[in-house]
């Protein structure tokens, strides 16, 4: 193991920390002074993973799968778990944690948002939820910066050690974000922005030290069985076997799951003093995309656990094959592949492997350490926050160039922000005359979930008309009455 911090003992560390928090919440003197003085129940945190291209929405559940009316404007929903297993719901959800989260009603899928507004179906419309942006398409602050600027989320008393927004760009080139009341700023990719910079910004104020080296055998075995289980899911779904044999495989898979949990639970908790100390940055991480991908996810996850930030954005753009393990596109570039320039097979492979690769990393390295109870909240860290897998621009089906269509987009939310989101549903937004719910309503809903009041986003744009205003929709839009409003139908 080259990483010497909590990754080595992730589950031990998190479980142990959770237990220690249960034991010590009333002893402020024992809390690490770097941790924000805020109870777990008050925490609202959000991590947005932004997929810039190529969400093949037709490979996910159809809009018609949402059947139960919710509210009065035609929103419909169905329990996501009723639509099938994780792998049938999505070809990129092969990681068993997604099945587990679906089973626990922790994944919400929202379908039917239009982002085709002021700039047409181009790049400009999918800059708003992430640190990504286009310098030619400015004038709107990015979502993350609205949170960053919120005095409700970050009062003036917020310690300087808190990194208000963690921004990670894993794309091939520079990304952009625009702060409220400021101009566009560039966010270099790995080549210009060393992971050590991120590390220092996020964890610089923490005291030094490392988690003692612990026996990782059980963690290791648990991870193996995680992979094995995924292979069984695929085998069970794809091979020519009888229903009776499937039942036998189910039994086998139950043993695998049980044993995986058993291995995970075998790990002893670490000493309380190990929590939230500065992790060790692995050497040689900068030139190894796989390693720094892993590390970014680890660091982001740890940052939320240690309350050194409430907001994170990470951009995944059209990585070329060399950055994605086993992404063999037959020698063509990723960007062209996801735009369908090299045929359906290549496009499909790009989608599966690219999304799948990051979906696995999100599950294994970001979500897994957070899938433990947070303090005495009775909920997991995952449940207490929102993790988004967002893509406002994507193809609907294979073929053609719809690499970042802004119509009828689909968003995935994990967690419930402490019960504030009616999680666990597949929700289809209404559609009238081919026009769907404006994407801004989704963003406002997300801001609402973060606790950002309307007064803080209504005037966030440079022209004073407020964040979430999209002139391109026009006053005759069938859902104009929902402009500036969160989608309360999906909130508690």
């Amino acid at each position: 193991m080259s990483i010497g911090y909590c990754k080595k003992s992730r589950r031990q560390f998190l479980v142990g920390t959770g237990k220690s928090m249960l034991l010590l919440p009333l002893l402020p003197s024992l809390l690490p002074k770097e941790v924000m003085a805020q109870s777990a129940a008050d925490q609202r945190r959000m991590m947005l993973f932004w997929f810039d291209h190529n969400n093949l929405t037709n490979l996910w559940p159809a809009r018609s799968a949402a059947t139960t009316p919710v509210g009065s404007i035609g929103i419909r929903q169905s329990l996501l778990s009723s639509l099938g297993t994780a792998t049938t719901i999505s070809p990129v959800f092969s990681n068993t944690r997604y099945q587990s989260l679906i089973n626990r009603n922790q994944i919400t899928m929202l379908r039917g948002f239009d982002t085709a507004v002021a700039y047409g179906p181009g790049h400009g419309n999918f800059t708003l939820a992430s640190g990504a942006g286009r310098n030619s398409e400015g004038n709107h602050p990015t979502f993350d910066t609205v949170v960053e600027a919120s005095r409700t989320v970050y009062p003036t008393t917020t310690p300087s050690s808190v990194r208000k927004v963690m921004r990670v760009n894993t794309a091939g080139g520079e990304a952009f974000y625009q702060k409220v009341g400021s101009s566009i700023q560039g966010l270099p990719n790995y080549a210009g922005y060393q992971i050590s910079n991120f590390y220092n910004e996020v964890f610089g104020s923490l005291t030094g030290g490392t988690v003692p080296v612990q026996d990782l055998t059980n963690q290791f075995k648990s991870n193996i069985l995680n992979r094995v289980h995924a292979s069984f899911v695929s085998f069970r779904g794809n091979r020519r076997i009888s229903s009776e044999d499937r039942a036998r495989l189910d039994q086998h898979m139950t043993y695998i799951s049980d044993q995986q949990s058993s291995f995970a639970n075998m790990q002893p908790p670490p000493a309380p003093s190990a929590s939230c100390v500065r992790p060790t940055l692995a050497n040689d991480v900068q030139n190894n995309p796989v390693l720094y991908h892993n590390m970014y996810f680890d660091l982001l996850s740890l940052a939320f656990r240690c309350n050194v930030s409430k907001m994170g954005v990470m951009l995944m753009d059209a990585h070329d094959p060399q950055w994605i393990p086993s992404l063999n596109l037959g020698g063509v570039g990723m960007h062209g592949a996801i735009h369908g320039e090299f045929g359906n097979d290549i496009q499909l492979r790009a989608f599966r492997n690219w999304w799948g690769y990051f979906a696995n990393l999100i599950a294994d390295r970001f979500l897994a350490p957070l899938d433990v109870q947070e303090g005495n909240t009775g909920r997991t860290y995952i449940d207490n926050m929102i993790t988004g897998m967002l893509c406002a621009g994507g193809s609907h089906s294979l073929g053609g160039d719809g690499g970042h269509s802004g119509l009828d987009s689909q968003q995935i939310l994990i967690g419930s922000m402490g019960g504030r989101l009616r999680a666990g549903n597949y929700v289809n937004m209404p559609s009238t005359n081919g026009r769907n719910m404006p994407y801004n309503t989704f963003l406002l809903t997300m801001l609402n979930l973060m606790g950002v009041p309307a007064s803080e986003y209504a005037s966030a744009t440079s022209d004073g008309r407020g964040f979430g205003f999209y002139e391109g929709f026009g006053s005759n839009h069938p859902f104009a009455s929902r402009f500036y409003q969160p989608i309360t139908e999906i909130l508690t």
Partner: protein, 666 residues
């Protein structure tokens, strides 16, 4: 004195407890060969048992699935196969958990269920040869369930993978200790036979195999064999590996583990799944090794990559690799070796001539010995013993320490020598007196000096007259019932089912009369007017000829009668003469056990039974009527021509070279 008498009475009573379980078992015989016989015909051979209409069987399968499968498992491997309607009724009325079925299963459904549970190969007479054969529907292929590797096969497969790194790894003490600690999957299936399980998986078994795999992965990960691992261009020799190297390793390793080619895309997906750059080389290799040998493509024999025999058909041809894998596991218990893999890669394995050569080659390997042993153990149950408990006066100096193992080993060696070295026919198995063993106690029992290629006395003709088969009951009194039942069920494939639960468990004591074992057995189980006689008139005559052997299998000329103190109080004459209808001839008079084994050696019914055993062992599921054509091909070989039987190895060749072997149906 009174105390001694009381003890005697108790011993006498208890000695019968194990004799009586077949009372009342004749009323609903599922396949009553004898009752269908007519004058001049061969019962059970020329007159097939009534075959249930298909619709009834189909309904029975439904009834079973809805009401029985939850507890008794899938019907093919059901624990209650061959139950009679009476037995099912008894169970419904006496087993608490089945009480919900009372009144729920009507008479017609009960009959349908009985028919489904008693699906037996229909027997007809081939008019051109006059020999009994199975009724055969052309082109039928039996349903092939997904089979997992047995523990033995799993271990062999892991060992095989380790050998690719370094053969020295396979002798690792910890690895072997872990494999030895895996809970046995050789469990009782049908009465008195232990069979390897290809479908059963238990949590403890799964965990144990995982731990052994983890150890194997650890051994591989630090092996010098990494440096020269095939098709990795030596990249594993570096101190650290990148993912490109890892992917090349994954492709080669998973191809061997999955027993088929793994293409670039699949190997890259696997690599993505298993690669963790934060791990060092050894950790990464151990991680990948362990994970891959736990994956379903390794764990299960999945034959589903071939083309349908015709459009829309659910019957598939095996691919060359699937065929190689099937042949290899069947004959050796190991995955395909390098030669087989190469022939599969080139497709040549599908050439019958090449395939036959490979069958011959594999049968000549030492690994095939284990297969032959398992075939015969699972067929004839000679590795199942009563608890060996004998008074010292009875043992007379024979040590029972390690004796059952020696007895089993003797027959293991007998079968492997006969089949693999002597090209034995079925008749040879039933009549040969050749043996090899080293245990002195067994030598004492046989009255010969242990050694190699010994010819035993005439009374030891064939395997049924060997100690492992004869010692079915410990103590001083033999059990003609158990001996006869073993022959009836395992050598003649007649399942008489279990006694009803209402059968009495004790008999009134007999006082003032000393009976031989045979006399006592006949009195309690063959009395006219009782329900017992139905079964026992079939079972007992097959056991009486062996009364010339005591419970250890020693020859005796008279029966010693022991008193309550375990001392001989008197002697009674033995009677080995019997008449049986079970051998395929209407009535055969037997005077001694060697004569019985001679009759068995040429009995169509016994040979057909062996064909069923062979087919079941190959397919690892109970035979069905869909297997009849396949079994008939085997049968033709076994029968031979002009009274010259074909060899067992020829039968195995026939089995593999037949068209059915290379097909699969889901």
């Amino acid at each position: 004195m009174k105390k001694i008498k009381l003890v005697q009475v108790i011993i006498f009573i208890s000695s019968f407890i194990l004799i009586i379980p077949f009372q009342n078992c004749s009323q609903f015989e599922p396949v009553d060969f004898a009752s269908n016989g007519t004058e001049g015909e061969i019962p059970g051979i020329s007159n097939p048992p009534p075959t249930a209409p298909d619709t009834s069987v189909v309904r029975g399968l439904q009834v079973y699935s809805q009401n029985c499968a939850e507890c008794h498992g899938l019907i093919d491997g059901s624990s209650v196969l061959n139950r009679s309607g009476n037995q099912i009724n008894n169970a419904i009325n006496s087993v608490p958990v089945m009480s919900r079925l009372r009144g729920a299963i009507g008479t017609s459904d009960l009959q349908a269920l009985t028919n489904a549970l008693n699906r037996q190969p229909e027997v007809i007479t081939n008019p051109s040869t006059g020999r009994a054969t199975f009724s055969c529907e052309v082109n039928s292929v039996s349903l092939t369930p997904l089979l997992k590797l047995t523990n033995r096969e799993y271990r062999n497969s892991v060992i095989s993978l380790l050998q690719d790194f370094s053969s020295s790894l396979t002798s690792d003490a910890q690895l072997n200790s872990l494999f030895n600690a895996v809970p046995s999957d050789v469990i009782v299936q049908n009465r008195d036979t232990l069979k390897e399980q290809n479908r059963l998986i238990t949590q403890q078994g799964f965990i144990s195999l995982f731990e052994a795999s983890w150890r194997a992965g650890g051994l591989a990960s630090t092996s010098s064999g990494l440096n020269t691992y095939p098709n990795t261009s030596g990249c594993l020799s570096m101190a650290s590996i990148n993912q490109t190297c890892f992917t090349s390793f994954i492709r080669e390793f998973s191809s061997r583990a999955f027993r088929r080619p793994v293409n670039v895309t699949e190997s890259q997906n696997l690599s993505t799944q298993l690669w963790d750059s934060s791990l060092n080389k050894a950790q990464q290799i151990q991680f990948a090794f362990t994970a891959i040998v736990q994956m379903p493509d390794f764990y299960y024999k999945a034959y589903d990559r071939g083309a349908p025999i015709q459009s829309g058909s659910t019957t598939l041809n095996l691919t060359a690799h699937e065929l190689a894998s099937k042949v290899s596991y069947f004959l050796t218990g190991f995955p395909p070796d390098q030669t087989l893999r190469a022939l599969a890669d080139s497709g040549q394995i599908s050439d019958p001539t090449i395939l036959r050569q490979q069958v011959d080659r594999l049968l000549a390997t030492t690994n095939s010995q284990q297969t032959i042993q398992r075939l015969f153990r699972e067929s004839y149950g000679y590795d199942v013993y009563d608890t060996f408990t004998y008074p010292s006066s009875f043992l007379n100096g024979v040590s029972t320490s390690g004796l059952t193992q020696a007895m089993t080993s003797e027959l293991d060696t007998f079968f492997t020598n006969q089949v693999l070295s002597r090209n034995a026919t079925f008749n040879d198995l039933m009549t040969s007196r050749n043996t090899t063993f080293s245990n002195s106690s067994l030598g004492n029992i046989y009255g010969v000096t242990p050694g190699t290629n010994i010819t035993l006395p005439t009374e030891r003709s064939g395997f049924v007259n060997r100690a492992a088969v004869l010692s079915k009951r410990s103590g001083v009194r033999t059990s003609p019932i158990k001996r006869g039942l073993a022959l009836l069920e395992h050598v003649l494939c007649v399942d008489v089912g279990l006694p009803p639960p209402s059968a009495p468990t004790a008999l009134p004591p007999y006082e003032g009369e000393v009976l031989s074992t045979r006399q006592a057995t006949a009195r309690v189980s063959e009395a006219s007017g009782t329900t017992c006689i139905g079964c026992h008139s079939r079972i007992n005559p097959l056991g009486y000829p062996f009364e010339s052997f005591d419970t250890l299998g020693r020859v005796r000329s008279q029966e010693s009668i022991y008193n309550g103190m375990g001392n001989i109080s008197s002697y009674l004459p033995i009677n080995t003469a019997a008449t049986t209808n079970e051998l395929g001839t209407r009535a055969v008079n037997i005077t001694q056990s060697s004569g019985l084994s001679t009759e068995l050696g040429r009995s169509d019914k016994a040979i057909m039974c062996f064909a069923q055993h062979l087919k079941r062992f190959e397919s690892r599921v109970p035979v069905t009527s869909s297997d009849n054509c396949h079994m008939n091909q085997v049968l033709t070989t076994l029968y031979g021509q002009n009274d010259n039987q074909g060899s067992v190895t020829d039968a195995i060749r026939t089995l593999i070279l037949s068209e059915s072997f290379s097909k699969w149906r889901y």
